[in-house]
């Protein structure tokens, strides 16, 4: 398995990377953790002329809490995120999610930015990030723009990211300490991607659900919020019955994916089961 030839460029900073993107033109690819790109290049499904290595850009490898926001640099690896005390404290579901990606060696290389820019529908992060109301920070030569995740993900392997832009940060608000969150994943057994990934967040103070947020990865062609579940549950008592009723709406209006591991019918069913498991985990 040998990639086609390319020129290699290493960027040490975002500004260098942007400069290289300009110089290399449209046949350039950014190399982050490489766990999607390098296999695709080995299979010659992807044949870039220029590879711009951004895996060592220390200016995007960080995790910090700043101004009421949890900020995750695009270069933060899944291991960084899984182990980060900031993430574990403020958004435990995101640490749980990171710990369930691939295997330890994959987590050591794979990055938040790489996953989000690749927009594989089976990726894990989009669900918890939707729940957290994440925003994507994008830099270009002309400056920075911040887009909500909902408009960043445009479809199957498609995002709002331009060719001369770099995803530099994913940020989300820090939630009140009484907010509970979880990520529950039903794995595709071969690849260990998700068949269904369900992220949920809620307050359960006083035995009543409020501020319920739920999102799914790997169920539709892009991650989505299960707003019908959220609406059905807000204000309801924290009971199994209420949950059972609400999760029936998990895939309302969604064009559910199908593959040889899960038909539409089964994936829809598992989405409901995992919605329930996620909500039960919040109680």
């Amino acid at each position: 398995m040998i990639p086609t030839t390319f020129s290699y460029h290493r960027a040490n900073s975002v500004s260098e990377a942007l400069q290289l993107l300009r110089e290399c033109g449209e046949d350039a690819k950014l190399l982050a953790g490489g766990h999607s790109l390098i296999p695709a290049m080995k299979l010659r499904l992807n044949q870039p002329e220029h590879l711009i290595d951004i895996s060592r850009m220390s200016d995007i490898r960080y995790i910090k809490v700043e101004g009421g926001m949890l900020k995750i640099g695009a270069g933060a690896t899944h291991s960084d995120i899984a182990k980060s005390s900031d993430v574990r404290q403020h958004l435990p579901m995101l640490a749980e999610t990171a710990a369930l990606i691939g295997d330890p060696a994959v987590r050591n290389k794979g990055t938040m930015g790489g996953v989000m820019a690749h927009a594989d529908p089976a990726a894990d992060y989009p669900a918890p990030l939707l729940v957290a109301g994440a925003e994507i920070v994008i830099q270009a030569a002309g400056g920075e723009r911040v887009v909500p995740l909902t408009s960043f993900l445009t479809g199957l392997f498609e995002t709002d990211l331009g060719e001369q832009e770099i995803l530099t940060e994913v940020r989300m608000p820090v939630f009140p300490s009484n907010t509970k969150s979880t990520y529950q994943k039903f794995m595709q057994p071969a690849s260990r991607y998700a068949i269904v990934g369900c992220a949920a967040m809620a307050s359960v103070d006083g035995g009543t659900f409020s501020n319920v947020r739920m999102a799914f990865s790997s169920v539709g062609d892009k991650a989505f919020r299960a707003s019908d579940v959220e609406n059905a549950l807000n204000g309801q008592p924290c009971s199994e019955d209420a949950i059972n009723n609400a999760v029936q709406h998990a895939v309302n209006g969604v064009d559910v994916l199908s593959d040889h591991f899960a038909s539409v019918e089964y994936r829809s069913h598992v989405a409901k089961v995992y919605a329930k498991r996620a909500l039960m985990a919040l109680l």
Partner: protein, 791 residues
């Protein structure tokens, strides 16, 4: 000294592997070596209109590009090693399997061109520049579809895609028994196609030396000598004495590396054309397309019982997939390694199987760990389980009731089955009783009932099995169509200092022969294990060999070693008698020395060895030296057997199966190294569970492989499996000197139906009778919601 047999001796081969010094074929680098890339068909069935290599040839570093038309007519395709005849006596259809296709590709992955370059990168790049013009045709992947009228033909001269049809057993008697049966259990099922997936992808290096007109082939093979024989005699027409085949360290085989593959002959042929070494190393993607696959049967099975639950008849109808070409042992797998095992452990008095072997537009199917015996065990053990369910009997009791009574094969004769084989020895009740005891069967049923009360789905599944191993008596297999003998050779060379080099035709690719065989030899001679070295895998060192598969290494290869050791001991006695000035009859050999009976006079093994090579004071008319070889042809197959029990829990919401416990009791005859035997069982069980729960090759309507990578073909991982509970009974084999039966395939043969039976048992509340493998969560979930129809 001595008494190594039966001890869990740590493996002598391990050090090189744990330090990264193992030497696998792709690790070998030869001066001026070139690299081959095989361009393969992306279509399952297509006609090649033309191939344009001009642009690729122009690339710097490209040495040669060969297509099918460049291979001389005199070079034949790779042969099949086993001939099965049609029921009407006609010879099986055996279309050629060319090294590179000339006109028509017959499966995705069929070799179309070989690009040879100075680096593997250039070879790969050049392949992208080779233009092949194809006309694509309809294709068929499913064997049951392939034999239906109107199916696309794989070979024009094989009507209905039939390679052969075949039967064994008494059809009339079986039909009569079935019509008289009080109850008939019937199952229609698929024993799905799986990929052996040895972790080391195949590799081969051809190295022609024009100064000596000599060829060397390094190859990741389970049997270098057989590869040499087939390649020299049937493919390239090379003089065997001018060809050396080396199988260095081989990273697992599981059957897939038994066969002689096109790439082996191609690199040797190309090396001769170019006069440089040519290396080919398979990618994993290529391995999915070209390593022979396993199983792939479509079966209807019926078991007849009388009113008391005694089995009265077994009637089987199977279509077995051969793939596009007949691989080395392919015809033997569904026939003599499957049909002949349908007696199982039971006294069933009437058995018949009707089998069709189908060509399809898929990669070849051949022996995969167990080879035919897992398929036989699967259908028997599923039938018995469902029969117990349908007739309201306990599945363990139903088995015990129908087991063949114990026989040792010495005082009691072997058991003559309805399907040709004669079992050597066995105590089947003991194995199942032991497994039930280990699992705590009665307690489990209570636990299961309590779990059901709480909505938890726990299930227990049994599988009892017998296999024919120690393959095989040459005359018997010859009569059944084998085109080779299945003996084994050995040479035991005692060095002048008393150190011993042993050359075996068996090949270790994980089995630990360097340890187990050394234990045998050290005990034979009463010397230290450190004084024995086992050499294998090189046709220049080892006289001949039939290789390792069919759990034959110890039973056949080990017996050959014992025979050579005995010759050493016999000759040593002559030397010792001379040194001690007594007659041979006065001597006994034990603990590494020849002693004069009833005295303390003795001479040691080392002294005798030295005397043999420094024959100053030496018997008249005795040749110097202490070096013997033997060929051992087994008298019968060996028949390991056992009982496996699996406990599962099924997630009632998702259908996901978790294997909670797995108990394996195997009787492999005498055990030389229990640590290694247990390891073989563990690995086999894992593969058996893999087939039950995870693994399956999928093709689309055009016979294109849908899941040819580890991203979508599920390999069992560490967190998919439990710790295994392994037990043993010992019924020695009565017909070989070590009393051993073989352990390599047992786990893989037994485990699969145990898991299916456990899941079906767990789903008892849903009245589920069968679930198609692999039992993915979706299939299990559907079974729970389909009123007993798991398909």
């Amino acid at each position: 000294m001595a008494n190594y047999i039966g001890q869990p001796v740590k493996r002598v081969e391990d050090k090189r592997f744990i330090t990264g010094k193992g030497k696998y074929t792709d690790d070998i680098v030869l001066p001026n070596m070139t690299f081959a890339y095989i361009l393969r068909s992306p279509y399952a069935h297509a006609t090649i209109n033309g191939i344009d290599i001009s642009e690729a040839m122009a690339m710097d570093g490209v040495v040669a590009i060969y297509t099918g038309n460049d291979i001389p007519e005199a070079v034949a395709g790779v042969p099949c090693g086993w001939q099965v005849n049609f029921k009407n006596g006609d010879t099986m259809k055996e279309p050629p399997h060319p090294l590179l296709v000339r006109r028509k590709v017959r499966h995705v992955g069929d070799g179309v061109a070989m690009i040879i370059a100075t680096s593997r990168e250039i070879a790969r790049d050049a392949a992208d520049l080779v233009e092949v013009d194809y006309d694509e045709h309809d294709a068929v992947a499913n064997p049951a579809d392939a034999v239906k009228p109107g199916a696309p033909l794989v070979h024009e001269d094989a009507p209905n895609n039939l390679a052969f049809d075949w039967e064994i057993g008494d059809k009339e008697k079986t039909d009569a028994a079935m019509s008289g049966a009080a109850h008939i259990t019937r199952l229609d099922f698929v024993n799905q196609r799986v990929v052996p997936n040895a972790m080391e992808p195949r590799a081969a290096i051809g190295d022609y030396d024009d100064s000596k007109d000599h060829y060397t082939l390094y190859t990741s093979s389970q049997n270098p000598h057989l590869t040499r024989l087939l390649m020299c005699a049937f493919v390239l027409g090379l003089p065997e004495h001018k060809v050396r085949v080396v199988s260095p360290d081989v990273g697992g085989g599981f059957g897939s590396k038994i066969f002689h593959y096109t790439e082996e002959a191609l690199v040797v042929w190309a090396s001769r054309q170019l006069n440089v070494p040519v290396k080919w190393t398979s990618d994993r993607s290529e391995a999915f397309l070209t390593d022979a696959h396993g199983r792939d049967h479509v079966t209807t099975a019926e078991l007849g019982l009388d009113a008391d639950g005694n089995f009265v008849g077994l009637r089987i109808n199977t279509v077995a997939n051969m793939g596009a070409y007949l691989s080395t042992f392919a015809p033997a797998v569904p026939t003599y390694l499957h049909g002949t095992l349908l007696q199982g452990l039971y006294t069933t008095p009437a058995i018949h199987i009707d089998l069709k072997a189908a060509f399809t537009h898929t990669n070849a199917v051949d022996a995969y760990r167990g080879a035919g015996r897992p398929e036989a065990t699967f259908l028997l053990e599923r039938l018995v389980e469902v029969a117990a369910m349908e007739t309201g009997r306990d599945p363990a009791q139903l088995r015990l009731q129908n087991f063949i009574p114990a026989f040792d094969g010495v005082n009691e004769p072997g058991y003559q089955t309805q399907v040709a084989l004669q079992y050597d020895s066995g105590d089947y009740h003991a194995a199942l009783h032991k497994a039930m005891e280990m699992v705590g069967y009665d307690e489990f049923r209570k636990e299961q009932a309590a779990a059901r009360e709480q909505g938890k789905l726990m299930g227990i599944g049994f599988s009892t099995y017998i296999e024919a191993c120690g393959i095989a008596p040459s005359a018997v297999v010859g009569a059944l169509g084998a085109r080779a003998g299945l003996f084994e050779s050995s040479q035991v060379r005692v060095q002048p200092t008393g150190k011993v080099s042993v050359y075996t035709g068996s090949h270790s690719h994980g089995q630990g022969h360097e340890t187990t065989f050394a234990q045998v030899v050290a005990d034979q001679f009463g010397i230290s294990l450190d004084d024995v070295e086992i050499v294998h895998g090189d046709s220049d060192s080892v006289a001949f060999g039939m290789g390792t598969y069919g759990s034959r290494s110890l039973a056949v290869g080990g017996s050959a070693i014992v025979a050579s050791c005995q010759k050493v001991i016999d000759k040593g006695a002559k030397i010792a008698a001379h040194l001690l000035e007594v007659s041979e009859e006065d001597l006994e050999f034990a603990n590494g020395k020849w002693s004069v009976k009833g005295t303390d006079k003795s001479v040691g093994f080392g002294d005798v060895a030295l005397t043999a090579y420094v024959p100053h004071n030496y018997p008249e008319n005795l040749e110097p030296g202490l070096d013997f070889s033997s060929f051992y042809d087994p008298k019968n197959f060996t028949y390991p057997f056992g009982a496996h029990i699996c406990i599962v829990e099924v997630d009632p919401e998702t259908g996901k199966v978790e294997v909670k416990r797995f108990v394996a009791v195997d009787d492999v005859g005498n055990v030389i190294n229990p640590m290694i035997v247990d390891g073989q069982i563990h690995g086999g069980v894992a593969q058996g569970i893999g087939q039950a729960l995870f693994e399956e090759v999928l093709y689309d309507d055009n016979a294109s492989l849908l899941n040819g990578s580890y991203m979508d073909y599920t390999m069992p991982r560490a967190d998919d499996l439990p710790m295994f509970e392994v037990g043993r009974t010992v019924t020695p084999c009565p017909h070989n000197p070590l009393g051993v039966k073989g352990a390599g395939e047992a786990g893989c043969i037994a485990a699969t139906p145990a898991v299916v039976n456990a899941v079906v048992d767990a789903l008892r509340p849903f009245n589920v009778k069968d679930i198609r493998m692999p039992m993915t969560p979706e299939r299990v979930w559907r079974a729970m919601h389909s009123n007993g129809n798991g398909h």
